[in-house]
Symmetry: C2
Subunit: 436 residues, 2 copies
Amino acid sequence: MKTIHIGILGFGVVGTGVARLLTRKKHLLESRTGAHLHLKTIADIDIKTDRGIDLGSTDLVDDAAAVLTDPDIDIVVELIGGETVAKDFIFQALENKKHVITANKALLAGYGNELVKTARKNQVDLAFEASCGGCMPIIKTLRESLVANDIHSMSAILNGTCNYILTRISQEGCSFAEALKKAQELGFAEAEPSLDIDGHDTAHKLAILNALAHGMEINLKEIHVEGIRHITPMDIAFAGSFGYTIKLLAIGKIHGDHVEARVHPTMIDNANPLSHVDHSMNAIAIDADATGKTMLYGHGAGMMPTASAVLSDIADIARNIISGTKRRVPILGYPEDNIRPMPILSMKELMTRYYLRFEAQDHPGVLSRISGILGENQISIKSVHQKGRKTNGKVPVVMITHTAREEWVQTALSQISATDCVVGNPMVIRIEEEAV
Amino acid sequence: MKTIHIGILGFGVVGTGVARLLTRKKHLLESRTGAHLHLKTIADIDIKTDRGIDLGSTDLVDDAAAVLTDPDIDIVVELIGGETVAKDFIFQALENKKHVITANKALLAGYGNELVKTARKNQVDLAFEASCGGCMPIIKTLRESLVANDIHSMSAILNGTCNYILTRISQEGCSFAEALKKAQELGFAEAEPSLDIDGHDTAHKLAILNALAHGMEINLKEIHVEGIRHITPMDIAFAGSFGYTIKLLAIGKIHGDHVEARVHPTMIDNANPLSHVDHSMNAIAIDADATGKTMLYGHGAGMMPTASAVLSDIADIARNIISGTKRRVPILGYPEDNIRPMPILSMKELMTRYYLRFEAQDHPGVLSRISGILGENQISIKSVHQKGRKTNGKVPVVMITHTAREEWVQTALSQISATDCVVGNPMVIRIEEEAV
């Protein structure tokens, strides 16, 4: 039986999960792949903490070079995360002709195009199933299963922290701060949560998925990103009264030679299956021309779900090695020569529907003034609700618009804010109509 | 650019879909695979009907031998269906060293083990993503993505005809016969619908999925199969009043060295995402040890979704050919030497919960007699409902049991039927508690 030697960089939560699967599932993995997947070396700056795994013949070292330069090691699994040392290590591993597996979405989103070029130059594989959607096989589905499809749109819940917080606000009516605190206590949010709650983690994943879906270069910087800090229980309650749920969605759509790519809190109809994806679960809905609407659902994070995705990459590369091949499926789903840069639609040009909530002065004529300004900006109102009690002479006025252009909406909102009809900035939440 | 020659057997609905994708998506497929996928020949007994496709350089012939014996053809796609000529053709294609792709679940369920052996002897691939769940990538997920997982259980809606009929009864309160008629009018059911509505099609798929999940030989004949003909609007309404939905489920669970494999109408809690899978949609929920609970959702049938799955197999084999390899992933997910026969749990030994509905005489003591017999057979009742109006002196009595052994339940029901308390056979619907 052929032995394939694996080195892991980073013995944190996911690294421990991968080591656990490689040791405890040795028999299953041999039985399925026909190869012995040998975890030769783990490198981490902390070599003292007991991770509860009998490492057997595996070396635990504090020097990444022991993995990166070991001629025996076929596959380097980078599970350090972030864009500092992890970046250097991955480039070194590729230059040393190692196949690389990573779960590092920030690095892929920021430097993925360079990484793909480096992997090509060195004729090795770069795999990252664990980078998006945890154990959901979304990378494989886009690269292999949907190969004959033009992918019209993707809508996805890709951050368990945000989904947990929004679910909790929704179910308990608590504030964002209270829900975040609870999420941190339960381990669903980091002590420094901004990467998650401000939407950046979701944007990293969307950049990767858009590239795979459309044969485009990874394009992170043009993605519009908003987080969930400003979402209030009042907006979630209003959403519910219209039959909507608020989720932090990654939305990717193709429009001819450019794509729409945005991450923000979004109201979706309760008939949309994504609205039922609660707590820390993730899901991605894909609308493609041959398949029609499909959805994947599963744990988007956590030690073992993420490790399961890493193992699917290890098995893929192992099966390549056993079959005497490599780079069998292009890293981004298209051979590098067929990947093109593709611009992202400016948010100004977005056409969608809007939920608008104003803190309006309780004076005669205010509603007429607000709706007048919207009308002057070609924004047509589908419904208006003035509910709830007055607070300090203000009442919440909620409007749902028909499809309008984002630029018009922003102009109208500036004009409304400049009047004496409202206080503070209006709340704007975009509405997605499409259900799976 | 390398050309890969493809022959299709069967120019029906799915064959037309595959031909359409190979011709209309030529550019996309070349751009993704780096190969020219050339549809060289289509064989069908009907070479006259216009399928609305410009076949260009493709030959349309009425003799399968033109595909099976053509030395140019690398991949034979069998889309005839059934177990007669399709079976002979697939075996011939394999013996002629062609890679074979099929959507034929009946054939795979009945002769899959032989087909796997023949493919091995001839060192060719046999692929069947389109056989289960239409465009959902369930075969690839089981063979490749979940490679490090022990799969505890699968619960799946795999037949769009049944799901459409059950949804319709549920939403409209119509009878099974009315719902079937409507399904036939709309093309969701065949004129001869028994393969679907009696559960056999679902059982074929479960036999395939169980093999892939557990490294076992395909075992169809021991699967317990019940269809949906006997489901009434009354039972669906009762189910609703308990917070349940009735779905035709394929259920596969592992128990040490044997598996549980059954197809029958099943009550599931409305919190279970499968309960929201309506109309002709399919879904499969998988509970595995590393991933936890996951779900795939999509169109389980239809021209283009099924053709999309066939194309993913074509691309896989094309990528193998370009990479100079074949048989890279074992046909059933495990190398043939590691596949073992595995017995299916006898239904007598099943432990589950039950919904029981009796047409009881409206006499004093009847409820006591029924519950007494259940108690004597160690069946504990969770709730009893006697609702609805009396018809000809009978009232429906509905009971939900705690977990009980199927053998006890059948014994108790025979004893109850032998009394003068009830008329006709009681309705028995098993309840699955597990939600994804």
